[in-house]
Symmetry: C2
Subunit: 240 residues, 2 copies
Amino acid sequence: MSASRTARERARAELTREITEIGRRQLASEGATGLSLRAIAREMGMVSSAIYRYFPSRDDLLTALIIDAYNAIGEAVEQADARCAEDDYPGRWRAVCRAARGWALAHPHEYALLYGSPVPGYQAPQDTVEPAIRDTVVYGRILADAYAGGALSPPDGFPAPPPSFSHDAEAVRSLMPGLPDDLVARAVASWTGLFGILSFEIFGQFNNVVDDRTTLFEHTIDTLGRLVGLPVSDHDLTST
Amino acid sequence: MSASRTARERARAELTREITEIGRRQLASEGATGLSLRAIAREMGMVSSAIYRYFPSRDDLLTALIIDAYNAIGEAVEQADARCAEDDYPGRWRAVCRAARGWALAHPHEYALLYGSPVPGYQAPQDTVEPAIRDTVVYGRILADAYAGGALSPPDGFPAPPPSFSHDAEAVRSLMPGLPDDLVARAVASWTGLFGILSFEIFGQFNNVVDDRTTLFEHTIDTLGRLVGLPVSDHDLTST
DNA sequence: TCGAAAAGAGAGCGCCGCTCTTGACATCGC
DNA sequence: GCGATGTCAAGAGCGGCGCTCTCTTTTCGA
């Protein structure tokens, strides 16, 4: 009978959910190296070997948590973008950056798992690629919308990318249709710059150097947004 | 006698050196989590407890290796800078960026230790701060020299930092004396942007997306250098 | 030369990931 | 209704880890 079969399957799904839940808590409090299948089993009142019925190895559990984390930051970014007026391109960019930072500050260990050192010996399976680019997809859509709306006016005086960049530009352009190579290159610089300053903050590189990290972050993302041609926002002072 | 005393002390220094040497090899091949005192002892033909005569804990060995790594990338950057004509500011910037990337590509696990996820439970002692900023010091000197030489002409159209940034700007300015707040902010954006793109490359974020990472890197550092006002170099095409 | 300090050796504690086997129990075909 | 089949928790155990404690040996300075 499907009823009784689903009874078992539901029990299995519930236990799987509980394992990932406890794993996520361990991850948040101890970091990736503190993730222990034995500790999870202990907390669940199971014997350690029973866990392996649900996750064949520690890496498999880690993969599940990584996918969850990618989806979490992706969703945070998507929702922040969705709350903005569609034609407020600089506002959308700022909202995305702030959402990413907010999530990272709230979940530093998960951020480290996604954008920090790769777990040694761990090879990300194919299932992770789609969740992994959810945030980047949002970013690309903002730029594509802004470009289509004629709202991108990149500052003069920057070098153009060499012709050899055109191949990779074509690949990246699938995320931001329509943008010329020059803007694709600037978009990559902005995006990686965002994660650069974010990683510096999360990973402690600003310790004893920068105190008011919010001010620095806000100004930096405005600068990076301006680099790709987003207009200066109302709240900014104009430059020299 | 100092001769006989140094006999034992030399043995101690030699063993300490050998431990860090093997540790560095483990680090390079396995990453930080693969660093095992027992394995080091095994390779040295010692019993594992004897290692603790030289490093009281695994974290202390890790600290030594981190300091070594900071010094290694710092030295690579310093030497690259020293090979340039002093007044070739964009050349020095590019040399520094390339040296950092070259070192990171050659020592990805060590790079991860410095600029990736912090080792959980590990607190960097005070001894690490001076080696940790060797590369940043070089960067600051280039900008200070360029500014003093009147060679910085930052592009127009970027927002100015808010007044609340001035306090942190003062602290950062100790690395690049003379620069106004606006340029200090751009300098931070450039520097964090450099490590942003570097981390994306080293940590695999470009996998299956960007093939020709050298081209992208070269163009990005030119863009970031331009952002702080370094002149466009000869090899670059001029922009629109 | 002798006593103190330093260093190595060994056993052991409590963790860890992971494997293999065993017995209890539900499910399904006959 | 009842065996055959599949699923699962439990237990024991393997090798590895960081680290500690004790005991012996070596070294070195007064």
